[in-house]
Symmetry: C2
Subunit: 239 residues, 2 copies
Amino acid sequence: MPFDARRVIAKLEAHTELDSSDRLALAGLVTDARFWEPGHTLAASGDPLEAAVLVLEGVLARTRRLADGRRQIVGLLFAGDAADAVGAVLPRRDDDLETLSAVAAAIVPQSRISALCEAFPRLREALQREALMEASRAREWMVSTGRRAADEALAHLICELWARSKALGQAGNDSFEFPLTQQQVGDCLGLSTVHVNRVFRQLRVTGLLRLQGRRLSVVDGPGLQRLAAFESDYLHLAP
Amino acid sequence: MPFDARRVIAKLEAHTELDSSDRLALAGLVTDARFWEPGHTLAASGDPLEAAVLVLEGVLARTRRLADGRRQIVGLLFAGDAADAVGAVLPRRDDDLETLSAVAAAIVPQSRISALCEAFPRLREALQREALMEASRAREWMVSTGRRAADEALAHLICELWARSKALGQAGNDSFEFPLTQQQVGDCLGLSTVHVNRVFRQLRVTGLLRLQGRRLSVVDGPGLQRLAAFESDYLHLAP
DNA sequence: CGGTTATTTGACCGACTTCAACTGCAGTGG
DNA sequence: CCACTGCAGTTGAAGTCGGTCAAATAACCG
């Protein structure tokens, strides 16, 4: 079976000790994976918050849109991440869930999540922790959109994606698959596509990184982290 | 007794039905109020997350700072708001709690919060809801810092503070006490103090609002909301 | 009343946007 | 096999929004 709960379990076990019954219960949630094209809206702002989404493969974005088409990406979810697993207590969605690439995910009704949390307190705790980690990442992005210059913000985003990629075991020693188009990066950081491109070039010519297709090679990791003033604490990764 | 749990209770009851035992338990948390001057840091990033803060009076901000002094305010907490009441599952703080005015608040150890949530499931739910509402407000601020022009962003912030003030019963029909200095507004929206001032003037001369000291009078509410494209849904206020 | 902090205004500058055009690449169908 | 299409990336020129610097006024407070 190509997609199962392994990644979700691995993600939660990075910060929460689970026993085999926890794992079994969690695996029971991922009975059927569904697939979407890039650019598809899984759920829209205003919809009832009736299901959580467990991402199995690909990139899912939490977005908000303005009437004239301006878009802000307010969160990124990768394989193993759970969206809205503690959202049941609010009646309606307040943002869209949009696929940024081809995505495989499991849709889990809130009722099943609630039942699970009731029966397995450690899972409730783990999902709670994930939700708080996502909120912390959102606050850090606010620092980027609000107070960091474009080059600092881009360097910071790269450092974050690199760190999360490493945490998933998907990053090489000094390179990883960069999961976003430059347009999507702009929507994360509140920049125009053109400027994202210029800043990428600046990071290239100053010898901080290289780009070949989707592969991003970090040439000068310390330099990149210095430019971003990157401190990974806010990710709450290792215990 | 000048400060008690009344506001906290009223806030939670706006979205969650509590019975008298819930209320009693909540009131038991607010045994002693403490007081701080404006500009005081109650808790700093990196500290152990050992207590929640119930705001009884004044304005508390969640902030993040860069090494060179740049500051981003990532959340505002008013009377009745609870900070980190569901934070126990993370080991450390990821932001500072800073008073923006004189503040009265109750410090509640996480152990008491946990015990309370265990015994009163409705309170857990209510506090959970508050945390999700705060996260939603943070995402909306990202739209302002990332994708809104300065005048739209300021108009939007004013609309939000007006709405929250009305929800607390502290706003007149078309005016309310504006709780922030222009410097603090800049740190919320990622703008310089000087520019905040200019945009305030612009909103004045275009006839949207008036300012006399701390009192902000909304002259043209619909116009202000139109400029901000303000939709209050993200606040999850009314049921 | 003096000292501090908040607000206000002007002049200048630069970071980022907008507009427009061109390249390269992958898919698709004739 | 190769034109055709569409999208991601790239680059240049010109304009604007918002920042910085500096200084003056206004409000606040002991």
